[in-house]
C-alpha cells in the first residue's frame, strides 16, 4: 500500500506542475479536479488501513466540497471568457518555469528526506507540491491561475494531513474544507469586481506599491 500512496503523491505533483504550465485555465481546473480525486484516494487508503469510519466522512467532504462544489462555484461566478483566455502572462516562460518547479521539488523532497530518510518520501512530495503551488501563485500574472495555485497548495496540505488523519478531528477537517471553499468564492467575487474596474490581469494592479 505504501508504494501506491507514493505513486498518488507523484502523480499529484505532476498535476501541480501541469497546472503551473498549462495556458488555458479550463484545463488547469480539470487537473485540479483530478488532483483532488487523488487526495480523496489517499484519504480512502488511510480509512482502510486505519479502519476508521470517520475518515470516510472526510472523503465525502473532499469529494463534495473540494472536487465538485469549488469548480462549480467558480464556473458560476467567473465569466466564461476568462476560463477560455489563453493569453496568460507569466513572469517567466513555461520552459523556465518547469525548471523552477523541478528545483522546488528537489528542495521539498530533500528537506524532508534529510529528517526522515526515504520513509518520509510522501511527506517530502507533499512539501514539494506546496512549494510548486506557491511558485504558481508567484509566477502567474493571471488571477484565475493564482486561485488554481492556492487550490493546489491546499491539496498539498490535505495530502500531508492524510498521513496523520487519525489525529485530526473530523470537525476540524470539515472546517478547513469550508474555509478553502469560502476563500475561492471570495477570490472569484473579487475577480468579477476587478473586471468592473478595468483590470484585465494581476499585472495591471500596480497602483498601490505594497
Amino acid at each position: 500500500m505504501a508504494t501506491v500512496v507514493v505513486w498518488i503523491y507523484v502523480i499529484a505533483l505532476m498535476l501541480a506542475v501541469y497546472i503551473g504550465v498549462v495556458r488555458e485555465v479550463r484545463l488547469a481546473i480539470g487537473a485540479y479536479v483530478l488532483q483532488t480525486f487523488l487526495v480523496a484516494c489517499a484519504y480512502a487508503l488511510a480509512a482502510i488501513s486505519l479502519k476508521d469510519q470517520s475518515i470516510w466522512w472526510a472523503v465525502l467532504g473532499l469529494i463534495v466540497l473540494r472536487m465538485i462544489l469549488i469548480p462549480w462555484l467558480m464556473y458560476r461566478i467567473v465569466p466564461r471568457d476568462m476560463f477560455l483566455a489563453r493569453n496568460n502572462h507569466t513572469l517567466i516562460s513555461p520552459t523556465f518555469a518547469m525548471l523552477v518547479y523541478l528545483l522546488l521539488t528537489a528542495v521539498g523532497v530533500g528537506i524532508v528526506s534529510s529528517i526522515l530518510g526515504l520513509s518520509g518520501l510522501d511527506m517530502g512530495l507533499a512539501l514539494a507540491i506546496l512549494l510548486v503551488a506557491i511558485g504558481i501563485i508567484a509566477i502567474s500574472h493571471h488571477a484565475l491561475k493564482q486561485i488554481m495555485g492556492i487550490l493546489s497548495a491546499d491539496n498539498a496540505v490535505d495530502l500531508l494531513a492524510s498521513l496523520t488523519l487519525s489525529r485530526i478531528a473530523l470537525m476540524a477537517d470539515y472546517m478547513v474544507f469550508l474555509e478553502v471553499t469560502i476563500a475561492v468564492v471570495l477570490l472569484s467575487l473579487l475577480m468579477v469586481r476587478h473586471r468592473r474596474h478595468g483590470y484585465k490581469d494581476v499585472r495591471h494592479m500596480s497602483e498601490l506599491k505594497g
Binding site: 528537506i111 506557491i134 496523520t164 487519525s166 472546517m175 478547513v176 476563500a183 473579487l190
Partner: protein, 478 residues
C-alpha cells in the same frame, strides 16, 4: 461555559441585525461589543486566581489568551462606537445618488469581530488556525468596502497573501502534529507541549519555520508584509484600526503558541533566533519605509509593522522581554487604533490621505488636532505614554541578555522613527492651514460622543499605562 458567550453574543447580534428595523441596526454593533466588554470586565472582577482560567480538550483561556481577548473586546467596542461617527462622515462626504452600504458594513463588522474574538480561545491547534484564517476571510470585503480601483487591488493582494500565509501555517502545524510518536494522538496546544520532546528536532524546526512564515505574513512581519500598507490604507478607518490593533495580535498569538512547543523541546534558541531575526528586519525596514511616506494611513501601517517587529523581539528575550512585549501589544493597540480613528476625521477634513494636504489641521480644528499631535507623540514612544515603558523594557531585556549591540541598533532606529513622527506631526498640525483643510469645515468643531469617547478612552489608558505602571512596579519592588 461562560467562555462561549464571547462568541454567542456576536452571533446573536448578527441575527438581530436582520430582525431589527433599519434605523436600529447601527446600534447592534455597539450593543454586541459593549456587552462583550462588560462581560470581560465582569469575568475579571468575579473570578480570582486560577479560577479565571480554563483548559479543556477544546477551549483554552490562559493569561495570554485573556490579554489578546481583552484587547479585542476593548478595541472592538471603541471601533464600533467610532464606526457610527465614521459612517456618518462618509454619508456627508458622498454624492447625492451614493448607494448606502451601512448595513453591509454592520454585518461584515460583526463577522470580523466574531472571528477576532474567537482566535485566542481554543486549545485545539486546528481550530485556532481556522479562527485566525477566518479573520482574513471576514475582513476582505471590509478592505474593499469603498469598491474603487485602489481598494479592489488592495483586497486582492490581501487575500492572496493571507491564503498563502494560512496554507504555510497549516502545513507547518500538521508537520508538528505528524511528528508525534506512535501511540500519542493529540492536536491540542497543551498536548503538543507534552509530546514535543518526542518529536524529531529537525521536524519541529521546519514546522516552526513554516508556521512563522505563515502567521508572520498575517502579523505583518518583513518580508511577508506587502499586504499591510495597502490594506490598511484602503480600508475604512475603524476597520484599519481593527486590522492593526487586533488582527496582527491574533497572528502573533499563533506564532508564540507554536514557539512554546519548541521551547518545551529545548529548541528555544532556534525559535528565539528566528524570531529575533525577523523582528529586527521588520523594525529596520519599516522604520526606513516611514521616512518616505506621503500618505498618513500608509505611515500608520508601516508603524504597525515596526511595532510587531518589536513585539516579536520581546517574546524572544526571556521574562523581561515577554513583559515588554505584552505591554507593547497593549500600548500599540491602544495608540494605533486611536490614530486610525483620527485618520477617518483627517480624511473627512482634507478629502485626502496625503500628509501635505493637512497642513495647519491642529490650528483649524484644535480638539481633533490636539488628539492627533498627542497620538503622534505616543506612537513615537515619547514619555509619559505607555509605549515608552514597553520599548524601554524590550531594550533593557536586550541588554540583560547581553545583546547590547542590537539594543544600540534598535535604539538608533527608534530615534529615527521618533524624529520622523515629530516632523510629520509638525507638518500636519501646524503652519498656515492648507486650502483643503480650510475648505472642509464639517462636524469637527462639534465632534459627537461616538468619536469623543474612543479618543478620550484610548489617550487616557495609554497615559495611565505610562504614568501609573512604573509607580505600581516601584510599589511592588519596595
Amino acid at each position: 461555559m461562560w467562555l462561549y458567550a464571547f462568541l454567542g453574543i456576536p452571533l446573536l447580534g448578527l441575527l438581530m441585525n436582520f430582525l431589527l428595523p433599519v434605523d436600529l441596526r447601527k446600534y447592534v454593533i455597539v450593543w454586541v461589543t459593549g456587552s462583550n466588554l462588560v462581560f470581560f470586565i465582569g469575568w475579571f472582577i468575579v473570578y480570582h486566581g486560577s479560577d479565571r482560567y480554563i483548559t479543556s480538550s477544546w477551549v483554552r483561556f490562559d493569561p495570554f489568551s485573556a490579554l489578546i481577548t481583552g484587547i479585542t473586546v476593548f478595541v472592538g467596542f471603541t471601533a464600533a462606537l467610532y464606526s457610527m461617527h465614521y459612517l456618518q462622515l462618509e454619508q456627508q462626504q458622498s454624492t447625492p445618488n451614493h448607494e448606502n452600504h451601512d448595513n453591509e458594513y454592520h454585518v461584515l463588522f460583526l463577522i470580523f469581530y466574531f472571528a477576532l474574538v474567537g482566535a485566542a480561545l481554543w486549545n485545539n491547534v486546528f481550530i485556532t488556525w481556522i479562527f485566525i484564517e477566518a479573520t482574513a476571510l471576514a475582513s476582505v470585503f471590509l478592505v474593499d468596502f469603498h469598491r474603487d480601483r485602489h481598494s479592489s487591488e488592495a483586497s486582492w493582494k490581501y487575500l492572496i497573501l493571507m491564503e498563502i500565509g494560512g496554507i504555510l501555517a497549516l502545513f507547518g502545524t500538521i508537520l508538528l502534529v505528524s511528528g508525534e510518536p506512535t501511540g500519542v494522538s493529540t492536536t491540542t496546544w497543551s498536548g503538543l507541549l507534552i509530546a514535543a520532546p518526542h518529536i524529531a528536532p529537525l521536524q519541529l524546526k521546519i514546522g516552526f519555520a513554516l508556521v512563522l512564515a505563515g502567521y508572520g505574513a498575517k502579523a505583518g512581519l518583513v518580508p511577508f508584509n506587502a499586504w499591510l500598507p495597502d490594506a490598511h490604507s484602503q480600508a475604512p478607518s475603524p476597520t484599519s484600526a481593527m486590522l492593526s490593533a487586533i488582527k496582527l495580535n491574533t497572528a502573533m498569538y499563533g506564532i508564540i503558541m507554536t514557539m512554546g512547543v519548541l521551547v518545551a523541546d529545548h529548541e528555544a534558541f532556534y525559535a528565539h533566533t528566528l524570531l529575533i531575526i525577523l523582528g529586527v528586519l521588520t523594525v529596520l525596514v519599516s522604520t526606513v519605509m516611514t521616512v518616505s511616506q506621503r500618505d498618513f494611513k500608509r505611515l500608520f501601517a508601516y508603524s504597525s509593522s515596526e511595532n510587531m517587529g518589536l513585539i516579536a523581539i520581546g517574546f524572544a528575550l526571556g521574562p523581561i522581554g515577554i513583559f515588554g512585549a505584552y505591554l507593547q501589544m497593549i500600548n500599540h493597540s491602544l495608540i494605533k487604533s486611536l490614530l486610525f480613528y483620527e485618520s477617518g476625521d483627517l480624511m473627512a477634513a482634507a478629502g485626502s490621505t496625503q500628509i501635505r494636504m493637512l497642513r495647519g489641521f491642529a490650528r483649524e480644528f484644535p480638539f481633533a488636532g490636539g488628539i492627533l499631535i498627542l497620538g503622534f507623540l505616543a506612537i513615537a514612544g515619547a514619555p509619559p505614554f505607555g509605549l515608552f515603558i514597553s520599548e524601554f523594557s524590550i531594550l533593557y531585556a536586550l541588554i540583560h541578555e547581553k545583546i547590547t549591540w542590537l539594543a544600540v541598533l534598535i535604539l538608533l532606529f527608534l530615534a529615527m522613527l521618533f524624529a520622523n513622527f515629530l516632523i510629520f506631526a509638525l507638518q500636519m498640525g501646524f503652519g498656515q492651514p492648507s486650502a483643503a483643510v480650510r475648505k472642509f469645515h464639517y462636524v469637527h468643531k462639534k465632534l459627537g460622543w461616538e468619536a469623543m469617547v474612543p479618543f478620550g478612552l484610548h489617550i487616557a489608558l495609554t497615559l495611565a499605562f505610562g504614568i501609573f505602571l512604573p509607580l505600581l512596579l516601584l510599589g511592588v519592588k519596595s
